[in-house]
């Protein structure tokens, strides 16, 4: 059977896999659909009136959207953290589930691109930064690097996933000589996308809060705390609802990895706090805003302490064997870890960078309802895409979705 016919069967089978499901599955789809529709309506509102529908202003010119972007780049990168034990150390129990991690990576990168797009003042002119048709300011602008590496990483993961699934669909095993080099390549790329995104912020000498070499290592530590935590939660859902075989050993291994990652992350927080508050300069005002608030605006401070509490609790759970080896408590730890990093690397990164602004003004930014609706809509799109990709992947790896010769 020629490849085109095979692909047609694959498409039809995938379509059926995502369209047919249990009642619970349809409820999930409906819920996501509602959130996506709300987000789309909110985005249309933004397209009609401009970014004034957000609460961003000159003083805080990036906010909720870019905060989510920075966080999700970390999730996308951390998906491959499972690749290391699976393939480098040839650890079987994780091997079977690496695919899910890569699907999460794909969904996360799509969400990243959506968040950047909705943040643009004139998204219809995004072609201005593409090569050949536009005039990208490469290599000077870090943004052009970010777009480049994000797209390459996306293509890497997308290729691996579709290749493995397509060959499995045909009833054959994938060729390791094709797959393994690309998977190994994705490891430095994962570090790379994260580092470039950190460089975006770090390179700005105008923003003392970000102008630190520690930002790139902190990004990676944060990514390794949030990405695997999300994967853990997704695995539990897939075991329960997706009829997927994932061993407890694989889940506990993730808990072990998270212990190292969170310890490192909290170490970085401690080094930051020491540097800022021991030798105080005029730049410390940003850290003071972050931890204590300024001029009566203490909204971000509450979240900073909440994030710290989440992370410390998560660390305790990951490190104490009695807790880590209890599936329920470990699940709680992963929720804490994910939320803690979401605050730290999302708004907790963006707001202190811009507050006070370049001329010392404190503008109390909190996202508007329109921004939040668009953000939730994008997360819902990511969840929907991941759900569909996972259903196809599970159907194929479980043997339900196979090419049958006529």
């Amino acid at each position: 059977m020629d490849n085109l016919k095979v692909f047609a069967h694959f498409t039809k089978g995938s379509f059926l896999a995502v369209v047919r499901g249990s009642k619970g599955y349809y409820v999930w789809l409906l819920a996501l659909g509602v959130l996506i529709a709300l987000g789309a309506a909110a985005y249309q509102h933004q397209l009609s009136h401009g970014l004034i529908t957000s609460n961003m202003r000159d003083q805080v010119s990036w906010g909720f959207y870019i905060g989510n972007f920075a966080f999700l780049v970390g999730v996308a990168a951390a998906a491959v953290v499972l690749v290391v034990p699976a393939y480098v150390y040839n650890w079987g129990p994780i091997r079977d589930v690496v695919l899910i991690g890569e699907l999460l990576s794909v969904a996360a990168i799509i969400m990243c691109m959506l968040f950047v797009t909705v943040d643009l003042g004139r998204p219809e002119f995004v072609w201005h930064l593409m090569p050949i048709v536009g005039t990208p300011n490469f290599p000077h602008s870090l943004l052009t690097w970010d777009i480049l590496v994000l797209n390459l990483y996306f293509l890497l993961n997308w290729f691996v996933v579709t290749y493995i699934l397509f060959t499995a669909f045909k009833g054959r095993k994938y060729n390791p000589r094709i797959v393994l080099p690309i998977i190994f390549l994705s490891i430095p790329f994962a570090i790379g996308i994260h580092t470039v995104t950190a460089f975006l912020f770090m390179g700005l000498k105008s923003r003392a809060f970000w102008h630190t070499a520690l930002l790139a290592p902190r990004f990676i530590a944060g990514a390794f705390c949030s990405g695997p935590a999300l994967i853990f939660l997704i695995f539990r859902v897939l075991r329960r609802f997706g009829r997927m075989q994932i061993s407890d050993a694989a889940l506990f291994k993730i808990g072990e990895l998270l212990a190292y990652a969170m310890a490192l992350n909290l170490f970085f927080v401690a080094t930051e706090v020491f540097t800022e508050f021991y030798g105080q300069t005029s730049h410390t005002v940003h850290a003071r805003f972050q931890w204590f608030g300024l001029h009566g605006d203490s909204s971000i401070a509450i979240y900073t302490w909440a994030a710290l509490a989440c992370n410390v609790l998560a660390l305790i759970i990951f490190m104490v064997p009695k807790f880590r080896l209890s599936l329920q408590i470990l699940t709680l730890g992963c929720v804490f870890s994910f939320c803690g990093i979401f605050i730290e690397k999302g708004m907790g990164l963006l707001l202190p960078g811009f507050t006070p602004d370049a001329l010392g003004e404190v503008y109390g930014y909190a996202p508007s309802m329109n921004e939040v609706l668009i953000g939730i809509g994008i997360w819902a799109i990511g969840a929907l895409l991941f759900t569909w990709m996972a259903r196809v992947a599970i159907a194929i790896t479980a043997g339900d979705l196979r090419l049958t010769r006529a």
């Binding site: 401009g50 004034i52 003083q59 003042g121 201005h128 990208p136 001329l359």
Partner: protein, 323 residues
Amino acid sequence: MGFFSRNKQSRAPKERAQKGSSRREFLKTAATVGAGAAVGAPAVASAMEFDFETFMQKNFRELSDEELQAVLDRLERKYSKKYGKDVEVSAIGPMDGVLYGYGLDISRCIGCRRCVYACVEENNQSRDPEIQWIRVLEFERSAALREIKLEDGNPYYEHEEVPAEGKFYIPISCQHCEDSPCSTVCPTGATWREPDGIVVIDYDWCIGCRYCMASCPYGARHFNWGEPNLPAEDVNADMHILGNKPRTRGVVEKCTFCIQRVRNGRLPACHEACPVGARKFGNMLDPNSEIRYLLDNKRTFVLKAELETHPKFFYFWGTEGRS
């Protein structure tokens, strides 16, 4: 793949060369595809007031002489019709042997903000939402004896009379840095430093990512968050395409040293408006200019010198007494 090296200067109009035709061919194909897509998205298009020629317009620095003239003609027709005035849009290039610099005498500034309003009158900013390119910070005079901390400055002062007792004033606008962070970080090459030192923005090329705003240490760049509102009676019909031509929603704007004035030998609007002579301007390469006199004879400082952006906006205390 770099089209423009950092701080590369634009060419003066007469030197702008023809670009290769292969890219133009590709653009035509892309244009056809783009046209097809645009026709299929009427809702989005109407929301963004779609205009095909404007949409396909190239980066200012890539325009040939003919293309630039076509753009200027189109803009003149569009603005004349929209505002009911005889609008002229110029693209006059830099003069040779010129590097503009600005001086600000803190001992004289009384915080009247006439510069702020003159700038708005000259440069076609949106009136609602209100955009101002100059920000005047009010400081406690006693603080200056120790240090000037920008966060102690108050840009929102309101007094019946200025200067207020015990205060002094520092107006801040674009510093036109010799090593500007904004032109380094702009992903599309929409902002750059011209040969005469003015940092400009191609308003039609900006995609509104606001990376430049994050990179500016002086809060000098402003964004059109909403639809700009510029009443016809307030329009200044003498425009420069890189200066005071009206901006659209979703693009960044800032002081251009009144490029439409200074390249024709006039002074910036803020300079003319200042009632106390606190503002100095000129060609730093001209030994007879007031700015050269200032630099050679007064002790000047720049804001945030430690960042090494090398601003061309020099602050000083010209007289004894006030502060």
